[in-house]
Amino acid sequence: MKQARALWRILAGLLKELSDESAYERHLKAHGALHSAEEWRRYCEHRLKAKYSRARCC
């Protein structure tokens, strides 16, 4: 049961990381900000700009 919970935590963590939701939570924490549409858009500007300026794998 404990292992299943740990596996679920990793899986959920991976999904949140791949969806950038974890990065957004870190962004809010780092800037001491609360979630809002405006904050999300500001975060997206920065995050997506960096993410899509790097080469993608084949």
Binding site: I10, W40, L48, K49, A50, R54, R56
Partner: protein
């Protein structure tokens, strides 16, 4: 006691791996179960990971968990963030797994299942995973520096410029070749095209949803997007059967190529949040889900390999691409064995997220092994098809004949029986008009995957759904590579143009954005159209070019890695990176030389150009085809030139590196390691 048990366990894994490998390598005549490939590869990966990679980690890299990583020292909540190692493993795997490990093995199956399988396993354990591992380690010890920066600092200025130019050129060829795979999969397929076309409004809807309606809810909208995509697959069947709608979605190769080019331009120039990012989220989740599904399907069905260990095409006369096993098998399968592109990921986001130094062992080495396993699964999916069907789908009309009957007769004469009626029945089952001449690898891979999925449940009745599900997965995945790649190519070009005129380098200046996007799109679009028009199917010329380019990038990465190992330990451990480097240089230089200078017209670009020029001069070309022939002649010479440029660029970096190594070994050149200073880690396990 525990140690003895461990030794017995590892001895058992080694014996099982050797037995399975001998089984697939020595078996002739009887059909081999795909499980032998799964068991052999898994055992060898485990041995490679536990012993070879651990040796490199402990003795060569001297990983030290007490040393703070850049993620800890430079933590900023954005790029630099200590991350749980399994989450980072998944993140890194999702970033390195592109369409390459799926398409390459499917094409290389023309030699039989054995050459490609051995190369995938051995290449990954001794080459590809080592490259990813050492580059990730090197970048982590250098505060997450990119491959280009490391090449400039460790080898010299020439190395940095060469790396940048090579990446830009490879990107152009990569985008053209993957676009060609999509075009060949979707031409004349209203079901497939409708499904893919539907992903665009779905992605825009997802973008608007995230931006205005439910900001930040990426997982939520990804689930909604996935449901909508699945519905579009069902709707696609209805569209394909509609007399009114089907013609709208039945496009020729050229029309589709133009559509993909226009799409690439808009995807590059539009705001990222509107189309690119939502499509990327969707693509990533579908990709991981399908890889998992395929793995479970293979374990559940345990299909037999229908293709033999070796086919007659080991002689170099294959219909899919011309050339012998050496060197062409080794450049056809790049991703899955050794991929230079991985070095860009290993020196990109990942090194900035490593929490503890020892995590680079599973993340760098382990995730490449998983990608290699994906390539094994693709090889299985291709080889579970009847050989006649496999060659009918993948062979161009220019080789097998322009009518289904002629093609079936040619393929049967090779010893792989197939009939036009059999192919028509199969096409009917998957809801396609025809499955002949569907070159590029994607349709045959989709057929193999559909066969495995349908055998797991649903049977023949669901074959059409699974085939289009697989096509949707491949195309979605590839279009994400195209739009993201065009954008990155645009940034690289703007970076270069900014040196000429400062304004051109500004990524927010609209004329610069539009102009550079157009230039990149025209560059890969030209090669795409060339591939679509090629009577030999395009894959014959473009895939080897891409394979050579990708492996040459790996050679650059291994030069950087060797330089770093040399500076750390002298010549003692150079063999670790020099062995795969020597192999890649031998393979790629031989392949490039043959692609340029081989006297066989199907292999050598110049020989094909000369042959056509001769026919043109002798008046053997019909008047209606003169212009087209002149274009093919020009394209062949252009391909030879591009291949030559790759060789010159990599030779420059090789010579530069060799001079540096000789200088370091003689003591005439500086051998200082340029790592970030040692800082004691204070990161607690509960923080991860």
């Amino acid at each position: 006691m525990k140690k003895t048990l461990g030794q017995i366990l590892w001895a058992g894994i080694a014996i099982l791996g050797a037995y399975s490998l001998a089984g697939i390598a020595l078996n002739r005549g009887e059909k081999v179960s795909s499980m032998w490939l799964v068991v052999a590869s898994t055992c060898i990966y485990l041995i490679g990971f536990r012993f070879y990679a651990k040796f490199i980690a402990a003795k060569v890299m001297m990983l030290n968990d007490k040393r703070a990583t850049p993620a800890e020292r430079l933590r900023n909540g954005h790029d630099f963030e200590p991350t749980n190692k399994w989450i980072l493993f998944g993140h890194h795997f999702a970033a390195i797994a592109g369409p390459g490990p799926l398409v390459g093995p499917t094409l290389a199956a023309q030699f039989g299942y054995l050459p490609g399988t051995l190369w995938i396993i051995v290449g990954a354990v001794l080459g590809g995973a080592v490259q990813d591992f050492v580059i990730l380690f090197s970048s982590m010890r250098r505060d997450g520096k990119s491959l280009g920066q490391m090449a400039r600092e460790e080898i010299g200025r020439l190395g940095g410029i060469t790396a940048l130019l090579t990446v830009l050129l490879i990107m152009i060829i990569l985008l053209a070749v993957v676009a060609l795979v999509v075009v060949n999969a979707l031409k004349g397929s209203p079901w497939g095209l409708f499904t893919i076309a539907a992903t665009m409004p779905i992605a825009v809807f997802m973008g608007l949803y995230l931006r205005y309606w439910r900001p930040g809810k990426v997982l939520e909208i990804s689930i909604i997007g996935f449901v909508l995509v699945m519905l579009s697959i069902f709707a696609g069947e209805w569209v394909a059967k509609s007399a009114t709608l089907a013609p709208w979605f039945t496009l020729s190769g050229i029309a589709l190529a133009l559509a993909v080019i226009i799409y690439g331009f808009f995807a590059s120039a539009l705001p990222v949040w509107l189309l690119l990012a939502p499509r990327d989220y969707l693509s990533t989740f579908v990709k991981l889900g399908v890889v998992l599904l395929l793995g479970v399907g293979i374990l559940f069905v345990r299909p037999d390999m229908q293709l033999p260990a070796f086919t007659r095409f080991v002689d170099g006369d294959g219909p899919i691409f011309a050339g012998k096993i050496f060197p062409f098998c080794f450049i056809t399968i790049a991703c899955g064995a050794v991929s230079g592109f991985h070095s860009l990921i290993s020196s990109g986001t990942t090194p900035k997220m490593v929490a503890k130094e020892w995590h680079v062992w599973p993340v760098g080495y382990g995730s490449m092994l998983l990608e290699s396993f994906v390539a094994i699964m693709a090889m299985i999916a291709a080889c579970v098809l009847q050989p006649g069907v496999y060659f009918a789908v993948n062979s161009p009309a220019g080789i097998v004949g322009a009518t289904p009957e002629a093609a079936a007769a040619t393929i049967t004469s090779w010893g792989f029986p197939v009939t036009a009626a059999q192919m028509a029945s199969l096409a009917g089952d998957v809801g396609e008009e025809s499955l002949f001449y569907r070159t590029g690898g994607a349709p045959s891979l989709a057929l193999g995957m559909a066969h495995i999925f349908a055998s797991s449940g649903g049977g023949r009745a669901l074959l059409g759904f699974w085939y289009h599900f697989a096509i949707m997965f491949e195309a979605l995945f590839i279009l994400t590579v195209i739009d993201a790649g065009t954008r990155v190519g645009r940034f690289m070009l703007q970076d270069l143009l900014g040196n000429i005129h400062k304004k051109l380098g500004e990524t927010s200046w609209m004329p610069g954005v539009i102009g550079s996007s157009a230039l990149i799109v025209v560059a890969w679009g030209y090669f795409l159209v060339q591939g679509v028009r090629d009577p030999l199917g395009g894959i014959n010329s473009l895939w080897p070019l891409f394979g050579i380019a990708n492996q040459l990038l790996a050679a650059i990465a291994l030069c950087v890695a060797t330089t770093i190992l040399l500076k750390m330990h002298g010549a003692k451990f150079m063999w670790i990176t020099c062995t795969p480097l020597a192999w890649l240089v031998t393979v790629t230089y031989t392949a490039a030389w043959q692609k340029i200078f081989s006297p066989v017209p199907r292999i050598g670009f110049l020989a094909q150009a000369d042959q056509l020029q001769g026919a043109l001069d002798a008046g053997k070309i019909a008047a209606a085809r003169i212009a087209e022939t002149q274009t093919i002649i020009f394209n062949n010479r252009l391909d030879a030139l591009v291949c030559g440029v790759f060789l010159v660029l990599v030779t420059a970096i090789l010579v530069d590196s060799a001079l540096l190594w000789a200088g370091i070994l003689r003591g005439t050149r500086e051998a200082g390691v340029r790592e970030a200073p040692f800082v004691v880690s204070r990161l607690r396990p509960e923080e991860l």
